[in-house]
């Protein structure tokens, strides 16, 4: 393995470590399933890596935009209300208020909060 590739892998891993939690949350609230979240993250990582998107100044934005993109294509069904309740507990009605939003809106809200994007940038990244 060349030095470049090795460094790239390290960069990707470091970025993933930074973003995994929020990326998972984003993928989860978009797909409303654990399985879907993992699938979407894998797809986004794959495309990000193939395109060499890691390491740039906007890698975070690009990564989350790709999650939104792949979430749209995700065909894994969302968990049912019963499953969500059983798994996560109905701790907060707000969580259910959030998941009741359209997917793009969920994405936008997430990005505003967790990625500190402006509303305009968040809307753009969320595909709204």
């Amino acid at each position: 393995m060349s030095k470049d590739v090795k460094m790239n892998k390290e960069e990707v891993s470091a970025s993933l470590d930074r973003y995994t939690e929020d990326a998972y949350k984003l993928a989860f609230i978009l797909t409303l399933s654990e399985e879907g979240a993992v699938s979407v993250m894998e797809d986004a990582v794959e495309e990000m890596t193939v395109k060499g998107g890691w390491g740039g100044a906007d890698e975070k934005t690009s990564f989350f935009a790709l999650i939104c993109k792949h979430a749209k294509k995700c065909r894994i069904p969302p968990m049912t209300a019963e499953e969500l309740t059983e798994k996560y507990g109905k701790k907060s009605d707000d969580f259910y208020a959030l998941i009741a939003q359209p997917k793009a809106e969920r994405a936008r809200l997430h990005m505003i909060c967790y990625e500190d994007m402006s509303e305009e940038d968040a809307a753009k990244a969320a595909g709204k």
């Binding site: 995994t20 993992v38 894998e42 749209k72 209300a81 009741a100 939003q101």
Partner: protein, 658 residues
């Protein structure tokens, strides 16, 4: 921003270590695959090298080894991806699982591309249960009006125009009956319409209401029946002159050809829609609930038709809707409308100790009305629980008796408060803000205020005479016995007042609110005034008493048009000054009617027959009982079953018989 952060409290949504490992492994695999993908090129170059070149041989061997490794890694990667993507939607439900390939759809096709459109049975929707159903009223209701979460029906400008047209010309479709369909679905069953003032700056549903008047049309793309309810999936489309149409979320969603909406598959797959829970009652569609839904994973195409997999029809919030439906023990024939105890309340002026709602029990309007009417003093029955045991239905709740001198009084701002004395002497405060909603909300902890509760029994839809009074602590024990969570906090539902003496209760009586906002009540705060319309009131005969038999002008007496004539109710109406409102909201005044009988199925006189839509909108009287500013007076209310059979005439001041 703080609110957004609050909404996004996802602290309990975290990737497990396994997920982290899985994603990192994916990175390693992808990088490895990417690295390998470069090597065949080197191998190709190596092929052009002279075979005797030892360096080239080593490179070729290396490349072969790397390709083999890449193939192995790739196989693992693709196997993982395929396993995930081919996972059946629900375990044990593989028989009807449909993959994207089977659908004939291409998930990679971007919305709006020129994929082959899929022909849908978009509109009209085939009626889903007995009888021919006309969905035009429902679609008009969706297009022109909106039932807000606070129970207030909002109407857009287009709706107002249509209402005015219908008012001026009764041959024109009127939205009044549309509104009835909506408000019947609200918790309290009465219509309070507000203008859409301020809608322009709002978002969400209200923005969509504006979009409708800009050209969007609701289109039913799929439907499903569950019990007596229908669930309709509605997508809003905006059709251009060239036949293309868009949705709220897709600028190019499909084409309208030969009266059929042809959606591009990916548009529907990635479209947000609304799901409506409706039921036809007395010929009218009644909206019971509405939720936003994502069509992905739900819509399937088969043989040029849209199909909804049962297991996929409902997603998170819709499942909740279904749970509510299944919970109800109220048979539809008992009463067309049921009380759904409010799950929310108006929070604008709520004191800190406001009772927290949460009761999900459904008690029918008929049952509540029977309890009140069977009592000599009850003004309100607040159901707390209901259950069935050994074929007997038990209704448990608080009976609030009327107590002289406890009228509404101005409170802070426009919030008024009434303090009720319960049947055991406890005090319950009810708050009401006429500017925000006609739904009252409760203050104080019932568990403190109420020491006694009443239990009524119901058999065959009839509340039996007599009641059992118990300590509230007994009620809690009873709840525990039936498996419910005993809670110190209870809430109630819209009060149903008797007519014993409602002085001072004008704002609280649902039927009075409705009548106050009837169109054509000249000089009063009516629907038209509420909406800012200036439409001349209908011609009236004046204010002097005049026997009904003297009224011969068909222009004055508007025969009710509709699909039902009372068949089982006879009312002896005495000393009535009445206003008659037909099924479309047009009004004719008939004054001075004194002592006549409306009998079963009869055309009373002058071709006047009575129809109703769950309420008898046709007869109002004031009989010297002017209620505050609402001179339209009180109204009879007929409770009818879903087949149109009148069950009860609600108004104890008048003799009635079944």
């Amino acid at each position: 921003m703080n609110k957004v952060r609050y909404i996004l409290d996802l602290n309990n949504v975290l990737p497990s270590p396994a997920v982290r490992g899985q994603v990192h492994a994916q990175v390693a695999k992808v990088i490895a695959a990417a690295e390998e993908s470069k090597k065949p090129k080197k191998a190709k170059k190596a092929k052009n090298k002279k075979p005797n070149d030892p360096k080239s041989k080593r490179r070729v061997l290396t490349v072969i080894a790397v390709i083999a490794a890449a193939a192995a890694v790739g196989a693992v990667v693709f196997a993982v991806v395929r396993r995930i993507r081919e996972t059946p939607r629900h375990s044990g439900d593989d028989s009807s699982t449909t993959t994207s390939a089977e659908n004939g759809t291409t998930s990679a096709t971007a919305p709006g591309t020129e994929a082959d459109p899929v022909r849908l049975d978009a509109y009209p929707v085939t009626p889903l249960y007995a009888g021919d159903k006309d969905y035009s009223d429902l679609l008009a209701a969706i297009k022109y009006t909106l039932l807000g979460s606070d129970g207030i029906v909002l109407m857009n400008e287009a709706g107002k125009d249509r209402l005015a047209l219908g008012y001026a010309d009764d041959t024109n479709a009127s939205v009044s009956r549309i509104v009835r369909g909506i408000y019947a679905a609200s918790d309290y069953g009465d219509c309070l319409i507000e203008s859409y003032e301020g809608l322009v700056s709002t978002t969400g549903d209200r923005k969509i209401l504006l979009d409708y008047q800009k050209g969007f049309d609701p289109v039913i793309v799929a439907a499903k029946r569950s019990g007596t309810f229908e669930y309709l999936i509605v997508v809003d489309v905006d059709r251009e002159a060239d036949g293309n149409f868009s949705t709220h979320f897709s600028s190019k969603a499909g084409r309208f050809i030969d009266g059929v909406y042809m959606f591009y598959p990916d548009v529907l797959e990635h479209e947000n829609a609304f799901i409506y829970k409706i039921r036809f009652e007395c010929g009218h569609p009644v909206i019971y609930d509405k939720a936003q839904m994502y069509l992905g994973n739900t819509v399937k195409y088969k043989e040029d038709r849209i199909a909804i997999r049962e297991s996929d029809f409902f997603s998170a919030s819709e499942n909740d809707m279904r749970a509510v439906v299944n919970y109800s023990e109220v048979l539809p024939q008992q009463c067309p409308y049921t009380f759904a105890l409010p799950g929310t309340y108006d929070g604008l002026d709520l004191p800190e100790n406001t009772v927290d709602p949460g009761i999900t029990t459904q008690v029918s309007r008929s049952e509540i009305c029977q309890i009140i009417n069977n009592s000599s003093s009850a003004q309100w029955f607040i159901p707390l629980d209901a259950y069935t045991e050994d074929g007997i239905r038990y209704l448990i709740g608080i009976r609030i008796d009327y107590s002289e001198g406890n009228y509404w009084s101005p409170e802070t701002g426009d919030v008024v408060r009434r303090e009720f004395i319960t049947n055991t002497g406890g005090k319950v405060k009810l708050y009401y803000s006429p500017s925000t909603s006609d739904r009252p909300y409760l203050c104080d902890d019932f568990s403190k205020a109420v020491r006694m509760i009443d239990t009524y029994t119901v058999k065959d839809g009839t509340v039996l005479p007599g009641k059992q009074t118990s300590l509230s602590s007994t009620f809690k024990a009873m709840q525990e016995r039936i498996g419910a969570t005993p809670g110190p906090k209870y809430t109630g539902t819209m009060p149903v007042f008797k007519t014993a003496d409602r002085t001072g209760l004008t704002a609280f009586a649902a039927e009075l609110l409705q009548q106050c906002k009837d169109p054509g009540v000249s000089g009063k705060t009516g629907l038209f005034e509420q909406l800012g319309l200036t439409v001349a009131a209908p011609v009236t005969t004046g204010t002097e008493d005049k026997p009904l038999s003297d009224l011969s002008s068909p222009d004055i007496i508007i025969a009710f048009s509709g699909d039902y004539i009372l068949s089982s109710v006879e009312m002896n109406v005495y000393s009535v000054t009445q206003t008659i409102v037909d099924g479309d909201g047009a009004t004719a005044y008939v004054y001075g009617v004194r002592g006549y009988v409306i009998r079963a199925g009869q055309s009373v006189t002058e071709g006047l027959t009575f129809t109703y839509d769950g309420y008898l909108n046709g007869i109002y009287w004031n009989g010297g009982r002017v209620r505050g500013s609402c001179t339209a007076g009180d109204g009879f209310r007929i409770i009818a079953d879903s087949d149109g059979n009148a069950l009860r005439v609600i108004d104890s001041s008048f003799e009635y018989a079944k």
